[in-house]
Amino acid sequence: MNERGDDVERPGMNRRTLLARMGSVPLVIAAGSLLDACGTGDSKAEVLQHVANVGHAYLKEYPTDGDVARLEQALALPAKNPTDHLDRLDRLVRADFANGRVVRVSGWSLSQTEARAAALVALTRK
């Protein structure tokens, strides 16, 4: 690989394989209280840690969102199967960007929805 990344294809990190690695993480995001039901794979834990890091950073800058019930209500994600949640989340996230519902977290421009989802994970993860 050169400095501009000529051959840096990362076959293991497309959406399908990420899902496989994460197990039911998206469901966890949808309903943080179900976190314990998701199994404990290393990859999933790693991803959850990353997501929680974003959540903690968000809550530091937006402490009024530090309430699980309020976040669940704001996200309004019914408990369906994980793939449905992913598609819905993806649509919500894109719509946030399209409509200016953007928050600044550690300098990152994030959608309000994804930031709140991360906060939910941060608050519910044990």
Binding site: R4, G5, R10, N14, H50, D90, S106, W108, V121
Partner: protein
Amino acid sequence: MLVDARGLEDGASFDADVCVLGGGAAGITLARDLARRADLSVVLMESGGFDHGDSDTTELYDGHIVGEPLMGGEPLTLTEVRLRYLGGTTNHWAGWCRPFRPVDFQVRPGIPYSGWPIAHDDLLPWWEQACTVIDIGPYNFDWRYWAPKINAGSALVDNDVIDTTVYQVGYPRAFRNMYGREMEASKNLRLIVWANVVDLPTDPSGRVTRADAKTTTGKHLHVNAKVFVIALGGIETPRVLLAANGGRGVGNERGLVGRFFMEHLEVASALVTSSRTAKELNLYKGIDWKRPTDVPVAITGTMGLTDATILQRRMLGSQMILLFTDSLDNSHPRQATGANAHDVGALIGATGGEPGSSLTVLQSLSEQSPNPNSRVTLGRDVDALGMPRVVLDWQWMPEDQASIVAAFEIMAGELGRAGLGRLQLGKIEFGNKPNKKDLLDSIVIDPGAFDPKKLDVTVGYHHMGTTRMSNDPSLGVVDPNCRVHSSPNLYVAGSAVFPTSGAATPTFTIVALALRLGDHLRTKVLV
């Protein structure tokens, strides 16, 4: 024909149809064009010789910077941002070529002093000719045309808000190497080296009667010509005009000479983690001479605010360059606290998007608003030839920085809206880079230290605007044909005539304007 002014008898005199002062991109282009395409005698007067390093000549560029500093890694001096020998700044030019956008020529609401007296399409014939002069590919800057030729992927963002165009980047294009020998051999062109213009006396009508020059060895010489063209760059051109005519100045009746100095504001303060792999982003890879093309150029894409965005949001032009790109897994920029690129890359995947795959440093190259208080004046001290030294007071407007930050935010929105990635603003320190492969590992980003009103701005060595073009003598020093309003036979070539700077590198347009001036002189003035 080559003439070394140091070997002339003191007081030597030359006659020519056209005297061009300054052997940089503009001067060489114009002098060659006139000498080759018309039976005109041309003198091209150059301060230096064929090589860099004469300290007495370089020192003539020394002056004072009293406004915003010209930042490279460190503050730069006026002797570092210019090269005073044949070829001028083409000797350190990276060769990036792209035309300005149509919007760059328009009068724009919310941008005082915007608008050129010529339109984008007026320059098309000369931009096309400039491709030949600079020896790049055909006049085509559409990424769809070039991507298949260089085995590059598609554009990351290319829509009505932010579009992708390409730069054609020639092999190192020092004009002294490309055209020095040709000019030596020309029968119509006398290339006088080691000659420094020190005065342009005028008659009561404003007509320049001759160019007076000196060598650093003490010789004097004079050039008599029908037409004089100053092509000395955006700092030296106003210096000579302000000092000319025995210190009374030429072309400065309205006090405009030296005002509206502009640079391009380069700000590398963003990281982007994208769902695209680094390989998929190779359209934006930068200069790579190994890529396959059927023309001897490198191609690299940049993303920029579209004309519609610039107009609707009353913004200044901005383009985004992917400085360095690598896989996210292999990139470990340091960040003391908060969410980093790996965290955000994972979050994107966990919320239904394509997870982050690559990481890149995003640099903006942006237009600054025309500002009459940003200016070149003369100091009280003089150089070894008795010429007043330059005082550069470069100033930005608050909206210049606000527009850059807004451009980054618009890019962040477009990346998010399309599910292509996320953008982080932060103060970026570039550490020691043993090799570029490790660059992303060597940077430190501090989002908390990012101050949108105090950006880390570096410069492009692009000096523009100090003899701006306008139909109205109260708003510009030169007319649309680049003639000084108050002089019937004095013209300016180069980026000093740009009324606005756009967000494209200037040399391609400098060459085009010089060719356009050559056409004008051949067909309208010297017939």
